[in-house]
Symmetry: none
Subunit: 254 residues, 2 copies
């Protein structure tokens, strides 16, 4: 079933569950990471220290996420009412759900979010999630890392997954990026205007002796290739022709 929910409503259905986090700084970092991506529902299972000033400092403008966080005694409590949970885990688990990478895992998560409440479950900084915790989840998601150093910070892992969630939620309606189009100050130059510049350039180069039309050495084709790929704007054509004119005038004055 395809979602007809707005992206922000899909994101609002995602809980971020931190199981037994040790460092309040990481809780704050997770809150900040969530809010930057439009998520706000933080669940903490047996945090070692919470609330804590260190969490507030690292959350910066996302203290509201901390204030609304739900503190739970068990993972089951944090997952109450969800229809789907993805365990974030680097290691392959015995009897755990089949592992997949973050991007695919998030796509699945959002498909489920169209139907009900879902969760991303992160383990303790040092020991990760227990096998029992992973087995509570319907999916196991890993973030692809350097096999020689896979020790992602907890806040960073939350950031990467929330980032993927935002992109996936908005992908349905994302407009194609303004590829190759500069936030332009002026309109694109017309063919005639660009040709006028080429003519001016060639003439100036001939006058100065740099360019001999009898032995062209592909000079003009090379310059056409250069300027052709920039998609010149009219202001730019005017600047370039101004430079050429000034150089001519300068040479007359000398």
């Amino acid at each position: 079933m395809t979602s007809r929910l707005m992206p922000e409503h899909l994101l609002a259905r995602i809980r971020v569950v931190l199981s037994r986090p040790s460092h309040p700084g990481n809780i704050g970092a997770a809150a900040r990471a969530m809010k930057t991506m439009g998520l706000s529902r933080l669940y903490l299972v047996n945090p070692l220290r919470f609330p804590d000033p260190e969490a507030d400092v690292r959350a910066t403008g996302a203290v509201d996420v901390l204030q609304q966080a739900t503190v739970c005694a068990t993972l089951d409590e944090a997952l109450g009412g969800t229809i789907y949970a993805a365990a974030i885990s680097a290691r392959q688990r015995d009897l755990g759900p089949p592992p997949c990478h973050a991007r695919e895992g998030i796509a699945d998560l959002l498909t489920e979010a169209a139907k009900g409440e879902v969760a991303l479950v992160f383990g303790n900084e040092t020991v990760g999630l227990s096998n029992e915790e992973v087995q509570r989840c319907q999916a196991a998601v890993s973030i692809p890392t350097n096999p020689g150093f896979s020790s992602l910070n907890l806040g960073s892992a939350v950031q990467v997954l929330c980032y993927e969630a935002r992109l996936a939620a908005y992908s349905g309606q994302r407009l194609p990026a303004q590829r190759g189009v500069t936030p332009s100050s002026s309109r694109a130059a017309t063919l005639e205007e660009v040709e006028g510049f080429y003519g001016h350039l060639e003439e100036t180069m001939i006058t100065t002796g740099f360019h001999d039309p009898a032995k062209p050495k592909r000079l003009m084709p090379k310059l056409r290739r250069l300027f052709g790929r920039t998609r010149l704007e009219i202001d730019e054509v005017n600047i370039l022709r101004g430079v050429l004119a000034a150089l001519r005038d300068g040479s007359r004055r000398t």
Copy 2:
């Protein structure tokens, strides 16, 4: 031209440049984020405090990245030898390169990495990158965020982009970039070569009286924007400087 480089060699061509970072903890977090994704080349432009024990603590197992970091006095120094740099910037800039989102921006970055050294440039935690810094880059890349709270932590921003870089490097299916550009005849110009051309151009325009540095009217930023989006090749830099030199000589001869 398509890359036949191994993914790890592509990633090794990416510099992560932090301009004027204020908090050593963020430098450490950036190092850790890089290493988890297989990147290792950290450049620091005028860090407020570095080296610093706080950076080491946050880097955890990535202290080697900090130890090998290059500290530079200017952004130009950090970009020395690169053929392409992407500014990470949330805000739209006057005369900056065309903005694109992280995923597309990283695809372009890796296409360029197949040809030479490239860089991801991050600004200061509070003020970001200056317009001058963004104008030094050929692309402006933003991470899609919640418009109501776009304050991504510096380490988290590095994490997201390095994550995208790793995925793109290993995807094997990234090829399409270089839209509408004729296959290149010569290698990409380095930052120094392009800056040498800008210096030559500016000097020539001043000599002829076209450009008054006291009343610049944003002339150089506009010309940087024009040539910045073309990705000049070394042959083209040589032709353009040849034209400028001929115009100077021509004016002397007259």
